[in-house]
C-alpha cells in the first residue's frame, strides 16, 4: 500500500486541472441565444439541399428563413416535432410534415390555421391527391409542397427476357412470377418501418379495400383490414417472401437498399418513389430503366399507388405566424415546386409545378405524365390522429414478411383494435 501511495505521488496533478479548465471554457459555449425576431425557423425533412435553397430564395428583407434538419425516418420526425410542439415551444415556425402525421398534429391543435386566400390558392393549384393528403376533417391544414408517389421501375432488358408486356397494366403476381422464373428480383420496402405500412396500404387499396373507416372517431374508428382485400394483400406479400424473387434482405429492405441490387445482373423490378430516376441518371442502368404504373393487386381492379410528400405547416405557438404564412406561400409556389423537383427529384404538388422548364428539361415527358397520373390514382394512408399507432400495429403483426399468411389480416385487425383501446401494448 505504501508502494502504491508513492507511485501515485509521482503523478502530475496538472492533468486534472486541464480538464477543469476545459470545463470552465466550454461553459461559455453553453450560453445559447434564441432565434432573432426576423428569423423564421423551418424544420425540414432531410433532402439533398433543395429546401435550404428555397429557404434562401424565399427570405425577404422582412425575414430570413433558417432551416433545421429533422431525422431521416418519418416516425422519428414526428417524435422530434410532437415533443416540442406539445411543450408549446415557439422556436419552431415552419415544418415540413409527412402526410400521415398531419391529422394527428392538426387534431392536437399544433397547426395554425392557413389564411383563407392562401387556402383558395392552394386548392386551385394542387393536384387532387395532394389536397387529400393535406386535409383533416374537411379542412386544408397544411400547404401541399411536393407530392410523392411510387411507380414500378423495371429493367427493360429483363422485361423483354421475361416476355412481359409492360405497356399494359401488370399485377404483382405477374412480376413476381416473371422475376422468379428468370432469376430476377423484385425490390420492395418491407423493413419494420413506415414504408412497410405504406406498401400494405397500397396493396389493400389495390384490392378495393381500406385499412379503416370512420377515422374521425379517433380511437373508435372501424378497422377494416380483415377483409378479402386484406387477404389479397397478405397473399402478395406471402408469395413474394417465399419466392426466389425476394431480395435476401427483404425483411430489412428500405427505399435505399433496393437501389444497388436493381443495378446488378439480377435486377428486374422495384417499386419506389420518384427520386429513383435521378439516382440512376448517368449510370449504365439509366438506358435500361423502364417505368410503369404501380402493379395491381388484382387483375381487374386499378392500382392504388402509395402517396407521400410534404406539406408545410405553421406552428400555432409560433410568435411569427403572419410572416410564416407569407413564407409558406412562397415556398409552395409552383415555380419553387418545379425547381425543387428538378434538384431533388421530389415531384411538385401542382400541375403548374410540373410545367416548370427546369423540370421538363430534365425528365422525360411520359415519366412526368405517369407521376401525375399516379398521384391522382393514389390511395393515401387513412387520415387519423392515431395513424402512428395503427401503422406500428400493422408493422408488428405483418413483420417479418415471411411470416405473413391468410390469418395475418384477422390477427392484425384484432391487434389494432386492442391497441387503440389501450388493451394491448404496442
Amino acid at each position: 500500500m505504501r508502494e502504491r501511495a508513492q507511485r501515485r505521488r509521482r503523478r502530475r496533478p496538472a492533468a486534472a486541472s486541464l480538464i477543469l479548465a476545459a470545463a470552465a471554457a466550454s461553459g461559455v459555449l453553453a450560453a445559447c441565444s434564441g432565434p432573432a425576431s426576423d428569423e423564421l425557423v423551418w424544420y425540414i425533412n432531410p433532402d439533398t439541399g433543395g429546401q435550404a435553397a428555397i429557404a434562401k430564395r424565399c427570405s425577404t428583407d422582412e425575414y430570413t428563413i433558417k432551416v433545421q434538419e429533422l431525422p431521416q425516418a418519418a416516425d422519428q420526425q414526428r417524435i422530434q416535432l410532437a415533443r416540442r410542439l406539445a411543450a408549446g415551444d415557439p422556436a419552431i415556425d415552419l415544418m415540413s410534415l409527412d402526410p400521415p402525421f398531419t391529422a394527428e398534429f392538426a387534431d392536437a391543435g399544433y397547426l395554425a390555421d392557413l389564411p383563407e386566400d392562401l387556402v383558395t390558392k392552394l386548392r386551385a393549384q394542387s393536384l387532387k391527391g395532394s389536397v387529400t393528403a393535406a386535409t383533416w376533417n374537411g379542412k386544408l391544414v397544411v400547404a401541399p409542397f411536393w407530392t410523392n408517389t411510387q411507380i414500378l421501375w423495371y429493367r427493360k432488358s429483363f422485361a423483354k427476357k421475361a416476355g412481359l408486356n409492360m405497356t399494359k397494366p401488370v399485377t404483382w403476381d405477374q412480376i413476381i412470377q416473371a422475376a422468379d422464373k428468370n432469376g430476377g428480383r423484385v425490390g420492395v420496402q418491407a423493413n419494420k418501418y413506415e414504408g412497410y405500412a405504406i406498401w400494405i396500404n397500397a396493396l389493400i387499396a389495390g384490392a378495393g379495400g381500406t385499412l379503416l373507416t370512420n377515422a374521425e372517431k379517433g380511437a373508435d374508428a372501424t378497422i377494416t383490414i380483415d377483409s378479402p382485400a386484406g387477404k389479397a394483400a397478405a397473399k402478395v406479400i406471402q408469395t413474394l417472401a417465399h419466392s426466389k424473387a425476394a431480395q435476401p434482405d427483404l425483411s430489412v429492405s428500405q427505399e435505399g437498399q433496393v437501389l444497388a441490387p436493381f443495378q446488378s445482373d439480377r435486377g428486374a423490378f422495384q417499386v419506389n418513389w420518384t427520386f429513383v430516376y435521378g439516382t440512376y441518371a448517368g449510370s449504365p442502368t439509366a438506358k435500361d430503366l423502364g417505368w410503369a404504373m404501380y402493379p395491381r393487386t388484382e387483375a381487374d381492379k386499378p392500382a392504388r399507388p402509395p402517396l407521400g410528400g410534404i406539406g408545410i405547416g405553421v406552428n400555432s405557438h409560433s410568435e411569427k405566424v403572419g410572416k410564416a404564412m407569407k413564407a409558406v406561400a412562397c415556398i409552395t409556389s409552383p415555380e419553387n415546386q418545379g425547381i425543387y423537383a428538378s434538384t431533388d427529384g421530389n415531384m411538385p404538388a401542382s400541375a403548374e409545378g410540373y410545367k416548370q422548364p427546369e423540370l421538363t428539361k430534365k425528365y422525360p415527358a411520359d415519366l412526368l405524365a405517369l407521376f401525375q397520373e399516379s398521384v391522382n390514382a393514389a390511395a393515401p394512408r387513412p387520415a387519423t390522429p392515431y395513424w402512428s399507432d395503427v401503422s406500428s400495429a400493422i408493422q408488428s403483426s405483418w413483420h417479418p414478411p415471411s411470416a405473413v399468411n391468410e390469418g395475418t389480416p384477422a390477427k392484425s385487425q384484432k391487434f389494432i383494435e386492442d391497441v387503440l383501446q389501450g388493451r394491448r401494448l404496442l
Partner: protein, 276 residues
C-alpha cells in the same frame, strides 16, 4: 511464475489484441471507403480506393460539429461538477463519522443500478415544465446524478488509503493547515480525483438513452444521439462510411485518454485491486 511464457500465452496475447482491435480497425477502414463504394456494396475488409472525403464532409456538417461541441461541453461540465460534489461526499465518508454514512453509500449503489429508461418519461415531463428540455443543463443534471455514485465510490476508496496523519505531521512541523492540505493532501488525492474524473467522463461521453430522450435539436444533442439520427447526402441510403467516420472521430478522445492514463483507469475500475 514470471518469465514462464508459453506458446499458449503468446497465442492468448494475439487473440486478445485481435478481439479488442479488429472492430476498431474495421470501422477505421470503413471510414476510408468512398460513399459510392458502400452504396454499391463493399463486403471486403479494406477500402478499394481509400479516400479522405468522408472526413472532409463530416467536418463540414454543422449538425455533427455542433453535436461534438455539445458532447464535449456537457460531458466536461458534468464531470467537473460531479467530481467536485463527489470529492466532498467521499471526503466525509472516508474521514468523518456521521449518521447515515451507510445510507449514503447504499443510496449511491442503488442509483448506480437504476434503470435509466424508467426515468425518461417523468424527466421528460418535468424538464418540459421547467424548460430544461433540450438544453445543456437538462442533460448535465441527470448525468451528474448517475455519475455521482461511481465518483463517490472510487474517491472514497482512494481517500481511505491516504495517510491523513501526514497532514497533522506537517502541521506539527510548522505548516499552516492550508499549506499542509495543499502540499500534502492535494498531491495524494489528485490521482484519485483524476481517475474518478476519467470514469465519469467516459460515462457521460457514452450516455445514449437520456441524450435521445431529452433533446430534440442540435442545441443540446450529443454525438451518440446525433449518430442515431445521422443522415448522409443520400437521404434514402444509410451513410455507412460517414457513420464510420463519425464513429472514428468520437472514438479519438477515448483512445487518447486510454493511451495516456491506462494505469489510472485500470486502478480506478478495479478499486485499487490491481497491483500497478
Amino acid at each position: 511464475m514470471k518469465g514462464k511464457m508459453g506458446i499458449q500465452h503468446w497465442l492468448g496475447f494475439a487473440v486478445i489484441l485481435v478481439w479488442c482491435l479488429l472492430p476498431v480497425v474495421w470501422i477505421i477502414s470503413l471510414s476510408f471507403k468512398s460513399e459510392a463504394e458502400t452504396t454499391s456494396g463493399s463486403p471486403q475488409f479494406l477500402p478499394k480506393e481509400p479516400t479522405l472525403d468522408n472526413y472532409r464532409e463530416i467536418l463540414k456538417d454543422s449538425d455533427f460539429t455542433h453535436a461534438l461541441i455539445n458532447s464535449f461541453g456537457i460531458s466536461l461540465i458534468a464531470t467537473f461538477l460531479s467530481v467536485v460534489l463527489a470529492t466532498l461526499a467521499a471526503y466525509a465518508i472516508a474521514r468523518l463519522d456521521f449518521r447515515g454514512k451507510k445510507l449514503v453509500l447504499s443510496l449511491a449503489l442503488a442509483i448506480a443500478m437504476f434503470p435509466v429508461v424508467s426515468l425518461v418519461g417523468p424527466l421528460f415531463d418535468m424538464w418540459r415544465t421547467v424548460h430544461l428540455f433540450n438544453t445543456w443543463p437538462g442533460l448535465i443534471i441527470p448525468y451528474m446524478s448517475f455519475t455521482l455514485p461511481l465518483a463517490i465510490w472510487t474517491l472514497a476508496a482512494f481517500f481511505r488509503e491516504i495517510p491523513w496523519e501526514m497532514e497533522q505531521a506537517a502541521q506539527v512541523d510548522g505548516a499552516t493547515s492550508w499549506q499542509a492540505f495543499r502540499k500534502v493532501i492535494v498531491p495524494l488525492a489528485a490521482p484519485g480525483v483524476f481517475t474518478a474524473a476519467i470514469l465519469t467522463f467516459f460515462f457521460a461521453w457514452n450516455e445514449f438513452v437520456l441524450a435521445i430522450s431529452l433533446t430534440s435539436t442540435t442545441d443540446a444533442r450529443t454525438v451518440p444521439a446525433q449518430m442515431s439520427f445521422f443522415v448522409g447526402p443520400d437521404p434514402f441510403n444509410p451513410p455507412y462510411s460517414q457513420l464510420a467516420t463519425a464513429s472514428v472521430i468520437v472514438t479519438i478522445p477515448v483512445i487518447v485518454i486510454v493511451l495516456l492514463f491506462q494505469r489510472r483507469i485500470v486502478a480506478g475500475l478495479t478499486s485499487g485491486a490491481v497491483k500497478g
